[in-house]
Subunit: 494 residues, 2 copies
């Protein structure tokens, strides 16, 4: 039962423990009845491709994963349901009743730029513990990483202008809206329209008027006048209900002159929600400036994303604030973050024995073994140079040159000097106890911005970005080749 209480004493109780693929239960029951419940295994969560052909992604969702694991337990009701399925053993059901996650989890902190094939999360746990968290781990990290990554692209496209998240109505369910706003904020948006995202996560919520406000009144002027009198300090007027140039803007200016200026207030902004935003924003800017409203901002919305914003700015659109809806909250151009959760090792007689999953496609063969990920930074520019995946017990010595090589095209080598390293993963759970102090959402957002600033522009390009080095250590490479050979050989023998 997840219990959330915030500053406003608004509670939410949800039991998401049963949000799992049913195979996690059939497998766990199978491990249990076959005496394998105490087997220690290692799983990696990683992804294979950045959405939108991007050079990197931003990982997010760890806080919700921690919350899920801290609250993971099975109620009598859950057990009654499972019993009704008639395929799980009674002993296993009793085991679930007192189940508590007891494993270790290492994770890359939220807001970190990450790359394909790196373990964003590594689990060391008893096999049932590791299996039962699979779906929520993937769902949470996939969803929020998808949205944080997309939001960050859109925010970067806006080149310093404000971006607001307005997508709740097109989100995939309530969590899509509320948690989507959280992930967008990590990715860099300034605020959201989703009120509940402020209550739950402290994402600043704002809003002014819809077309319905304008339509309710007998005419547009009356609608604007009433709004300005009600909200003289924050007056933003939506000007496209009838006709932007011939009606909306003249009425907005009239309200500014008649209502706001006489009491020493300024018209804060006008909003365009349809039409050609480049043409209209330039024309509107001129009209507003001519009327002395040079400080009145222009907000634009209507199916925006990083591609359209880039084009609008290339055409010198005069937009101060972008409102972005469906294309951010659903990551419309590519709405799937394809994180997977793979068994990479099993402890046998106290030894960590690497495991592999093969594929006809070279790039889909997993990196076996208990591993960690390092990021190498240039000592002078402090920019990230390369990431290296090693076995967990390896050390990268900063005092010596380090040679990285492409794991597929192994003749592609590069010697790195004058660098320092950081491990990307940090301990989050140790023996089932959370050992990670959760940063605030503001800290995550700032950390994300710092990390993005520390990357070369070539990697951040929207189209055809430079491929950042993500290499594997010589030792890991050897382990992987040995395992591939073993399974290939067994095949040759048939």
């Amino acid at each position: 039962m997840s219990k959330i209480t915030n500053n406003f004493n608004i509670k939410e109780e949800r039991n998401l423990s049963m949000l799992m693929d049913f195979y996690e239960l059939t497998m766990s029951n199978g491990y249990f009845v076959n005496g394998l419940a105490d087997t220690i295994v290692y799983f990696d969560m990683f992804y294979r491709k950045n959405p939108d052909g991007a050079g990197f992604s931003i990982v997010a969702g760890l806080e919700q994963l921690i919350e899920f694991i801290n609250n993971l337990k099975f109620t009598e009701g859950d057990i009654s349901y499972l019993r009704s399925k008639g395929i799980l053993s009674e002993e296993f059901l009793q085991y679930l009743l007192t189940f508590k996650f007891s494993g270790d989890i290492y994770a890359v902190p939220e807001g970190t730029p990450v790359f394909p094939n790196e373990a964003l999360i590594t689990i060391k746990a008893k096999v049932i513990d590791a299996q039962l968290i699979e779906t929520m781990l993937l769902l949470t990290i996939n969803h929020q990483s998808l949205i944080a990554t997309k939001a960050n692209r859109i925010v970067r496209a806006a080149q310093g202008r404000t971006v607001l998240e307005l997508g709740a109505r097109r989100a995939h369910g309530a969590d899509g809206a509320i948690i989507g706003a959280r992930a967008s904020y990590i990715g860099g948006v300034t605020g959201t329209a989703t009120t509940m995202a402020e209550i739950r996560f402290g994402v600043p919520a704002t809003g002014t008027m819809a077309h319905s406000w304008v339509q309710l009144f007998k005419d547009e002027y009356k609608a604007f006048e009433t709004y300005a009198k009600t909200y003289p300090d924050t007056c933003t007027l939506l000007v496209d209900t009838y006709d932007v140039i011939n009606s909306g803007i003249p009425n907005a200016i009239k309200v500014s002159k008649n209502v706001l200026e006489p009491i020493g207030k300024r018209l804060n902004a006008i909003r365009l929600d349809s039409g050609d935003l480049a043409y209209l924003s330039k024309k509107v800017r001129d009209i507003l400036d001519d009327a002395g409203l040079t400080d009145c901002k222009i907000v634009a919305s209507n199916s925006l994303d990083e591609y359209i914003i880039t084009e609008l700015l290339n055409q010198d659109a005069k937009i101060d604030i972008f409102g972005v809806g469906e294309r951010m909250v659903t990551a419309k151009s590519e709405p799937v973050f394809g994180g997977v959760y793979k068994l990479v090792a099993v402890e046998e007689d106290g030894q960590i024995v690497p495991r592999i999953k093969l594929s006809e496609n070279e790039e889909k063969i997993i990196n076996p073994g208990y591993k960690t990920v390092w990021r190498l930074y240039d000592k002078i520019s402090h920019k990230a140079i390369a990431d290296v995946i090693t076995l967990a017990n390896e050390i990268i010595d900063e005092t010596k040159p380090y040679t990285i090589f492409d794991p597929v095209l192994t003749w592609k080598k590069k010697k790195i000097i004058n660098f320092y390293v950081k491990k990307l993963q940090i301990p989050v759970f140790i023996k089932g106890q959370c050992v990670y102090e959760l940063p605030s959402i503001e800290e995550i957002k700032m950390y994300c911005k710092d990390q993005i600033d520390g990357m070369w522009a070539e990697v951040k390009r929207f189209s055809n970005p430079h491929k950042y080095y993500v290499d594997i250590s010589q030792e890991l490479w050897s382990v992987k080749q040995d395992l591939i050979k073993r399974y290939r050989n067994s095949e040759d023998n048939e």
Copy 2:
């Protein structure tokens, strides 16, 4: 506070009342302080375009909307939060504290095929009541209609074969997974992997094994053997961990012969999760048949959707069950259902006065007025011929020929004879009381299938479908033209 209790006494308490765009609060406060709180308004929820270029969509999500409205209330905590924003009047906050939805809602039942511009939901309510439900109404109907529509396309592509929903791990949040499984089931899938969707909604949940099961054991045969011994009645084996043809299938057959057949059991199915599914399924079918396992089903999964399934079947793939993940649960090819919520009329001195919202784009101009939607069926074939949108007080007389005409190209006319009509919308709330008896999910699913069967194949084509007639009555057309002229003329006068 939404309280859900099911057969297994598993509760969920969520306060989603504050899941709204903040502008609903600024507007509502504005209506309140300007003495407009009792103004009766009419809103339509409709959409403009079917996803994926389809000929129709399937509406879903009404049950969750009803649940939301039944539980809509603002707690002291909500009010404290709103007060902290410093822009809403204390009188309005007190008003919210005792707020209860008191309006009328008419809606098209879940599972109905629908078309652009038809009001899926019509609201008659006090303006604040209508405004405060906007976001959740749109979010719920948009999300579930999107997924039900997509699932139905995928199910139809499978031509009678079983389709399972397996997408939780790639869904946009927990609701995306759980409620997504509900919508998929309405659209026609047979079951889901998402355990909680069975607990919450009775969608049958199933699952067998992941690659991790196979990897955990020292070899694939041992993994299969253990599984078969544990689940002899429902044994499905995942055969692509190492090599389908040279290892997976031979081991599966060996297990069938050594473990299952001696105790009178059959191998239920094998699952392919990678590789060329057309090639592999045909080859695997031959090998299984040669081994006497003609009744062993083949399950296939891996980024499937209606397009790939159609191609696989065109290539004579031997697949009995399709497992569909990310492309259904996110509606990947077009992940947005663009439903909108528009003010269409306002009561002034007891008169219903139509309102319009103009646009440069003819098709984006809304249909004004308090309206309803009719479906005309052919008396002999019982197929749906056309839908007609009329003002709410109009009657379509089945005993006389009825002439429909295209609302843009008005010379396109068609006289309908030998027909009967049904109103698509039914009353759901009257004066705030729910008057609708919720059908079971099985009833919705069967109703949906019946309705789809009652449509011409031409409308159901995946590509370039026949455009079904959705026309407006002469009376509505006149109201609309008058309003357009009024706003066009006022513009000409400037």
